[in-house]
């Protein structure tokens, strides 16, 4: 174990810092969950790509920089230090990208990865259905083979960014006789294909963060299928591992929130309770613990290891940390907590953050499901029913 960065790592940090300081928008962007904000965020993806920062860990051939995971962590730290915007393409770069890297053909890698890294194509994840939330094996949207195409019929829901995004990656039942995990196929589709209707859904905060997608005999070429027909479940489990595991929520995000919380506490110290003070310290400690753990996982992966059921522990930890940090901030803000904008006109980001933090324990596999997985796969407790 070495707790010192190498001179090369320090130089890389300085490079990222300089670029971020020069390019991160001074004013926070409008929320990603509306047309105007979405466009601003896509613009930001392209600005990032212009500096070749789209996805630093990917090979240069696919629009990346071929960097290792420690450099990725440094990049993320500097990204959040600079207050970088949410990534419009997060489901593409953090979830689908690594999945294509693992399961895609060379042709698919060339076709999909570079435009993703460059922010030219924004992706939405289309797994959930009205009848298939936690129980994803209950997916019923169908993809029927017809020559060189699949014909898709059915409905997806809660698809983040799908109100505006370009492409989607979904799970569809290709074998009509199949049950549960078998007979599902992972298919990439252009959301502007004829037969797809998007219906935006208003979220808790009032904006349209996600959308329903209705498929009416949508024709998708067979070459858009990832790994083979019927392999969908295995592919999706790998994607879910990326989602819960290392990349979706890097530690810098929570360390930045913890630091802002410390600053907020300082301005409310006179009236704050000792309990609030302890919650603030807990925020710093937990965000740091998450960072140390992520560095340890990164080191393990770089040494050839894999993440298994720990991905579930990770997801539980960051989502509950995020919620408790924002809850603490809301308590410190008192009567200002409900205000959408503060007196100086700035957006109440704690309120927005608190609302969003309430979804963390639900998306990416609910925390109840993660606790089931932890108990059964890591601790070896008996499985009963479908849990």
């Amino acid at each position: 174990m070495h707790l010192e960065y190498t001179p090369e790592q320090d130089a890389f940090r300085a490079e990222v810092r300089a670029w971020m300081e020069a390019h991160v928008p001074k004013e926070p962007l409008v929320t990603l969950e509306c047309r105007e904000g979405y466009d601003q965020h896509v613009e930001w993806e392209r600005t990032l790509a212009s500096g070749n920062w789209g996805m630093v860990t990917w090979p240069e051939a696919y629009g990346g920089r071929g960097l290792d995971l420690i450099q990725w962590l440094i990049f993320e730290e500097e990204y959040f230090r600079a207050g970088g915007p949410n990534r419009a393409n997060q489901n593409g770069i953090f979830l689908l990208g690594p999945t294509i890297m693992e399961f895609g053909t060379d042709e698919q890698k060339k076709r999909f990865l570079t435009p993703m890294a460059k922010g030219e194509v924004i992706w939405a994840q289309a797994w959930s259905e009205p009848g298939a939330g936690s129980d994803m094996a209950a997916i019923s949207s169908k993809a029927v083979r017809d020559g060189d195409h699949y014909v898709i019929t059915g409905q997806k829901t809660w698809s983040s960014r799908a109100a505006f995004a370009d492409w989607g990656f979904g799970m569809f039942r290709t074998d009509p006789e199949s049950k549960r995990h078998k007979g599902l196929t992972f298919i990439l589709f252009d959301i502007n294909s004829p037969g797809i209707t998007r219906r935006p859904i208003r979220q808790l905060h009032g904006d349209t963060g996600f959308a329903e997608l209705f498929f009416d005999e949508v024709r998708v070429p067979v070459e858009n299928c990832l790994a083979g027909e019927g392999e969908g479940w295995n592919v999706a489990m790998a994607t879910a591992g990326f989602e819960r595991g290392l990349m979706l929520r890097s530690p810098g995000r929570f360390q930045a929130t913890a630091k802002r919380l410390v600053d907020l506490y300082r301005t409310h110290e006179a009236e704050a309770s000792p309990a609030a003070r302890e919650a603030v310290l807990q925020a710093w400690m937990s965000a740091q613990a998450y960072a140390y753990n992520t560095y340890a996982v990164a080191a393990k992966i770089m040494a050839g290891g894999k993440i298994g059921a720990e991905a579930s522990l990770n997801k539980i930890f960051w989502s509950e940390l995020d919620r408790s940090m924002h809850r603490t901030a809301m308590q410190l803000l008192g009567a200002h907590a409900e205000l959408k904008r503060f007196d100086d006109g700035s957006v109440n980001q704690w309120l927005e953050g608190y609302i969003f933090s309430l979804s963390g324990p639900i998306y990416a596999g609910s925390n109840e499901v993660q606790r089931n997985i932890t108990a059964e796969r890591m601790l070896g407790l008996p499985r009963v029913g479908a849990g």
């Binding site: 174990m1 070495h2 707790l3 010192e4 960065y5 190498t6 790592q9 940090r13 810092r17 420690i70 962590l73 730290e77 500097e78 959040f80 230090r81 530690p251 810098g252 995000r253 360390q255 930045a256 630091k259 410390v262 506490y265 300082r266 003070r277 603030v280 310290l281 710093w284 400690m285 937990s286 740091q288 613990a289 998450y290 960072a291 140390y292 753990n293 560095y295 340890a296 990164a298 080191a299 393990k300 770089m302 040494a303 522990l313 539980i316 930890f317 109840e368 993660q370 606790r371 089931n372 932890t374 108990a375 890591m378 601790l379 070896g380 407790l381 008996p382 499985r383 009963v384 849990g387």
Partner: protein
């Protein structure tokens, strides 16, 4: 920058784990509890493995290893609920002496001939020292009254760090005991471990433990490196490990039902050691205060770019 525990480090810890699992199981704890609570044969076994000399420099007949290695082994001692004063002597006392440049006793420590009862102002007792006996809730702890005027901050950090390391091992062991019990105890026609209320509580313990561990290892390295900020990292480790162990202790007894409330079921040995070490070498409140002084006091830089400040 590298948070990796090397294969050698993990292999050594595993060797110690297997050795203790084979020679220091629950039946040994019960025997010790009934009969004098120390056993020269157990001590000799630890000496023979080289553990008393782990941190003693090679020149004095030791292995010359570092605090991360020691913390990993201290966790194994916690897992086994080891009663012999190995951690105090070899992982706290030895580096404490080394930091003061005192090497004359080290060869004897490495050879197992001398133990180092540690007196410090933070504790109202000396463990395994001479003096009027004081009773601990932990039947395996031998405490004695002492003057305790030593205020050496480095010794305090070493004691707190190694307590934290033992606590994560204790927590692991209690989680394991509860999981194994939940697999075999049946009610309502199924193992209680199939009930989600049980699963989820145990999963929550696993989260607390897994996220306390890297805090402890990183604190060990920070102290080894002599970083200015080492004290706050040690305190963070003590708080995180204490919380994980106390949560797991309370959960484990709940999962055992009334069985957990008996002296007969072994869980109590681990639980009581956890209570003892939670308070030893600075309480949770003491260590939280040190984190507070650094973080809210402003001495420690915080934020995403200061992960390893």
């Amino acid at each position: 920058m590298d948070m990796l525990l090397t294969e050698d480090q993990l292999a050594l810890a595993e060797t110690v784990r297997n050795y203790l699992a084979g020679t220091h199981g629950p039946e040994v704890l019960r025997r010790l509890d009934a009969d004098g609570n120390r056993d020269p044969a157990i001590w000799q076994g630890l000496v023979d493995m080289g553990l008393t000399g782990l941190l003693v420099p090679e020149a004095q007949g030791g292995l010359g290893m570092g605090l991360v290695d020691a913390a990993l082994i201290a966790a194994e001692c916690g897992r086994a609920c080891l009663a012999e004063p190995l951690v105090d002597t070899a992982f706290v006392g030895v580096p404490g002496l080394l930091a003061q440049g005192k090497t004359d006793q080290l060869a004897d420590v490495a050879a197992g001939r001398v133990t180092l009862p540690l007196s410090h102002a933070i504790n109202p007792w000396v463990a395994d020292g001479a003096g009027v006996a004081i009773k601990s809730v932990d039947p395996m702890r031998n405490l004695a009254a002492s003057a305790n005027d030593n205020a050496d901050p480095h010794l305090l950090n070493l004691g707190a760090l190694m307590s934290a390391a033992q606590l994560v091992g204790l927590a692991d062991a209690m989680l394991h005991l509860a999981v194994e019990y939940a697999k075999i105890r049946t009610q309502f026609g199924q193992p209680i471990g199939a009930f989600q209320a049980i699963k989820h509580q145990l999963a929550t313990c696993a989260v607390a433990i897994e996220f306390a561990k890297p805090v402890v290892w990183q604190a060990a390295q920070a102290l080894q490196d002599g970083r200015d900020s080492a004290a706050v990292h040690v305190s963070h480790a003590k708080v995180a490990a204490t919380d994980a162990a106390i949560l797991t202790a309370e959960t484990a007894i709940q999962v055992h039902g009334a069985m957990g409330y008996t002296y007969e079921v072994d869980l109590h040995f681990w639980m009581k050691r956890s209570w003892a070490l939670a308070g030893a070498w600075g309480s949770r409140a003491f260590h939280l205060k040190r984190v507070d002084d650094a973080v809210l006091g402003g001495a420690l830089p915080i934020g995403p770019e200061h992960t390893f400040a």
